[in-house]
């Protein structure tokens, strides 16, 4: 995409280029699709949402009167009789990061107009996301079974359960929304809507493979947020 040409405008590299793009007419981000710019700005806003959650969590964890539960014990799975800390979380993280890989490949094949390959890879991403949500459901039910509730738990500070269910729930909600859209776009790609220039069901607009990249941006963001949740919630 760096190779594109814009009539009457010289795309300069680096800081100078940024200045001349900003000072020019029509668009600020040269050659960037409207939807893509929108997704970036939405993600910036969403970053603030998750930052507020995580900062609140740090503040909450820092000021509880009761000790915080030992996370490596709470989040462990028993393999035979041996408790393995963070086993499930490690698998979940692996699955989610892998799905980011398949998403990136889907974007590549989308731009190459390789419809079949693109569709299968989006489907693989959706399945990865679904697996993640499934494992999260398992994790939640295990913890609920052990007595962890939003308002209290047997392991320590009540805020542990509150923040855990709220933050992982909010992230899981993002993943679920993403999975729904991944399935929708799997259908759209396999049905060849971008080739036939079919108009959208609701928006009545024609689509393009750039939509796969926009969906990919969202998906990578959701993965990145998970990395932060993983670090702050499970490793701290």
């Amino acid at each position: 995409m760096s190779e594109q040409k814009i009539d009457g405008f010289e795309l300069k590299p680096g800081f100078k280029g940024m200045a001349s793009d900003t000072g020019s007419d029509q668009t600020m981000f040269k050659g960037v699709h409207w939807g893509k710019a929108m997704m970036w700005i939405f993600l910036l806003s969403d970053t603030f949402v998750f930052s507020c959650f995580l900062i609140s969590y740090m503040k909450g964890r820092g000021s509880t009167i009761v000790d915080w539960p030992n996370t490596s014990e709470v989040f462990s799975l028993h393999v035979g009789d041996v408790p393995v800390p963070l086993l499930l979380i490690a698998i979940m993280t692996f699955v989610l990061i892998t799905s980011s890989g398949t998403m990136a490949l889907a974007v590549k094949y989308g731009y190459e107009k390789n419809r079949k390959m693109c569709g299968w890879l989006i489907l693989a991403t959706a399945v990865g996301g679904l697996t993640f949500v499934g494992m999260q459901v398992f994790e939640w039910s295990k913890l609920i079974h052990e007595g962890v509730r939003p308002w209290g738990n047997p392991f320590g500070a009540a805020q542990f359960g509150s923040f855990f269910f709220m933050i992982t729930g909010f992230h899981g909600f993002h993943v679920s929304i993403g999975v729904i859209f991944l399935f929708i776009y799997t259908y759209k790609v396999f049905a060849g809507h971008y080739e036939s220039k079919k108009r959208g069901w609701f928006t009545k607009m024609k689509g393009d493979y750039v939509e796969i990249e926009i969906l990919g941006l969202y998906w990578h963001f959701v993965d990145l947020v998970w990395v932060f949740i993983f670090a702050f919630f499970y490793l701290w």
Binding site: D25, Q26, W34, S56, A157
Partner: protein, 612 residues
């Protein structure tokens, strides 16, 4: 536009006007504007009444929808303020009011006016209507999302209004909703009321995000040929910066609303400390009420500027047009808007001086608060210098602008008082604070809204509002607003606390009573005077004088549409090509006292127009 217009993008570089050959210095390249980068926008035209007027994707209709819904909530807020003033001035006449009612009205008045009225009106109303027209776009970039944005706002308003009718009534916790009292029994509306308020706020944030993405991308990525950022009207700059603030500040509100909802519904203790009530320890414990205050004001302070910046932008344009003079220091104005926007994220804790912070923290926030006065003062000087030696037309619009400058300076100066910790602490929670923010954030933006309504009504409706009624409206509002809020400064100094249902038997009783009666009478009159505008609009729509195209002789693109009022797609077959900023007024040597943004340089070669 694919249905009506061909997608021929090969516009000629030359202006469509025929060049006057006599001008010797015409250089064939001087009118060159780069060809279009982006293809014509694919617009969906409405096919039925519902698509055209209800679930409409045209930003102009959405703007009017936002405007009317916001005005409806504003009238509800106005009626609540009347009831409050009735209680404060003439408690014997307000026998039907209990203390609980009073707190509920205070809360709902505050929240409605700040969020559902002013924010929605400036960004949703003026933003939707003006952004595409002013930057030369056919519509917002995502019309469908834009439509969803309005309906999300509508649902948020409906949920908010529903809270008046649930058992226990709306929340009465004060518009800041400070926990723990907000959700504890004993506070009015701590059951369903607060829940609906939190749900409504969350819906508002979601709806606003959809709209805000549209405003930002339309301004950044869908300007017409020749429209650089530094040729945009200041209105667009103000709305744009306010939208950026909103996109970054509303997340904090959303998060605090979610957390408080969980505290309420699931008995979590995010914000709830250990509480002893009538000798009994409640279920809560270990949470931090201060955390809520930080989250709330991280949203709350930028929110002030979300309302103020569009007002700054709009008033700059109105002053320039009606003083027939270019805006003084355009670039300074732009950077001041951007600077105020950036600084507004570093001042939030000046609302929390009495909450118990580290003194150094208060010192830091006092410093940043006073720094933000610098770009703000620059803007005031520039407005005054724009007026200086201008060809000022004292019409209704200009009166509102002048009223804005006066009330804004007034409220701004009291803001400097309150920004200092040592002055703020004794004045906290007194009527001085009420006077300050109603002056700076209530009356001042309202003056701009009124000015903007009189200015743009001919564009929206194609008819001129009645000037005489407008002047009555202005003078009653302006003098009345001063009668309301000026005495309140004094009430604050003698220590009358805000949010009190009645004065009880206090030392300031005697001097406060007469003043409260006076303020209340003024409030009734000012409130009633607003219906002059409603009457004026209805009368004008029925029998008003038809407006000519561009009645104010303005330069910006919204007045150069193919039809008045503009149709879907705004500009007819060809988008306008911009050659200059919108402030070329009274240029020496020019034929008229204004040069539209679309005028090519070759048409004005013998004038002293500056390159912009």
């Amino acid at each position: 536009m694919s249905d009506e217009y061909d997608n021929n993008k090969s516009y000629q570089a030359q202006s469509s006007e025929v060049l006057d050959g006599s001008a010797g210095s015409v250089n064939p390249d001087m009118d060159y504007v780069r060809p279009a980068e982006i293809p014509e926008q694919d617009l969906y035209h409405a096919h039925s009444f519902i698509e055209k007027w209800i679930f409409c994707q045209d930003a102009k209709v959405i703007g009017v929808q936002y405007f009317l819904t916001a005005v409806f909530t504003g009238i509800v807020g106005l009626i609540l303020s009347w009831l409050m003033r009735l209680q404060l001035g003439f408690p014997e006449l307000a026998g039907f009011m209990t203390a609980e009612h009073y707190y509920q009205f205070v809360t709902m008045h505050g929240m409605i006016m700040v969020v559902y009225f002013l924010t929605a009106l400036f960004l949703g109303g003026f933003g939707n209507y003006l952004i595409p027209l002013m930057v030369g776009a056919r519509d917002m970039v995502f019309p469908y999302v834009n439509m969803l944005s309005f309906w999300m706002f509508f649902v948020a308003v409906a949920v908010l209004m529903a809270s008046f009718f649930v058992p226990g009534g709306p929340t009465g916790a004060g518009w800041t909703l400070y926990p723990p009292q907000t959700i504890l029994e004993g506070t009015p509306g701590s059951g369903m009321g607060i829940l609906l308020m939190l749900i409504s706020l969350s819906l508002f944030v979601i709806g606003f995000t959809m709209g805000g993405l549209n405003y930002m991308i339309t301004i950044l990525q869908a300007r017409t040929r020749g429209m650089t950022l530094m040729r945009m009207p200041l209105t667009v700059w103000g709305i744009f910066t306010a939208t950026v603030l909103a996109m970054l500040a509303f997340p904090a509100l959303l998060v605090s609303a979610i957390m408080m909802t969980l505290d309420k519904v699931l008995q979590t203790s995010f914000f709830m400390p250990t509480i002893l009530k009538a000798g009994e320890v409640l279920e809560y414990g270990g949470g931090s009420p201060i955390l809520f205050q930080h989250l709330f004001w991280f949203f709350g302070h930028p929110e002030v500027y979300i309302v103020a910046l569009p007002a700054f932008g709009i008033v700059s344009d109105l002053i320039s047009v009606h003083a027939r003079k270019n805006i003084f220091g355009y670039r300074m104005m732009v950077w001041a808007i951007v600077g105020i926007g950036a600084l507004s994220f570093f001042v939030w804790a000046h609302h929390m001086y009495v909450s118990g912070m580290n003194p150094w923290f208060g010192f830091f926030f006092a410093t940043t608060t006073l720094i933000i006065a610098v770009p703000t003062a620059m803007k005031v000087y520039n407005w005054i210098l724009t007026l200086w030696r201008g060809n000022i037309r004292i019409n209704t619009v200009m009166l509102w602008c002048l009223g804005f400058i006066v009330t804004f300076v007034n409220g701004g100066i009291t803001g400097i008082f309150l920004g200092n910790v040592s002055v703020d602490v004794p004045l906290s929670d007194t009527y001085f604070v009420i006077a300050h923010f109603h002056m700076v954030m209530g009356i001042a933006p309202l003056m701009v809204i009124m000015g903007a309504v009189y200015h743009w009504f001919p564009l929206v409706a194609g008819k001129m509002l009645h000037e005489g009624l407008g002047k009555w409206h202005f003078w009653i509002t302006f003098l009345g607003a001063y009668s309301i809020y000026f005495p309140m400064h004094y009430l604050g100094f003698i220590g009358v606390p805000r949010r009190y249902f009645e004065m009880y038997d206090s030392p300031y009783m005697t001097s406060a009573v007469g003043m409260n009666e006076f303020i209340s009478i003024a409030a009734f009159i000012v409130g009633a005077a607003q219906f002059i505008l409603v009457f004026n609009i209805i009368k004008t729509l029925k029998t008003g004088k038809k407006a000519e195209q561009n009645p104010w002789k303005a330069n910006s693109l919204e007045w150069y549409t193919s039809t008045v009022p503009p149709e879907h797609g705004n500009f007819g077959e060809r988008l306008p090509v911009v050659h200059r900023w919108p402030y070329d007024f009274s240029v020496p040597g020019a034929k008229d006292d204004f040069i539209p943004q679309t005028t090519a340089p070759s048409e004005v070669v013998n004038t002293e127009v500056e390159k912009t």
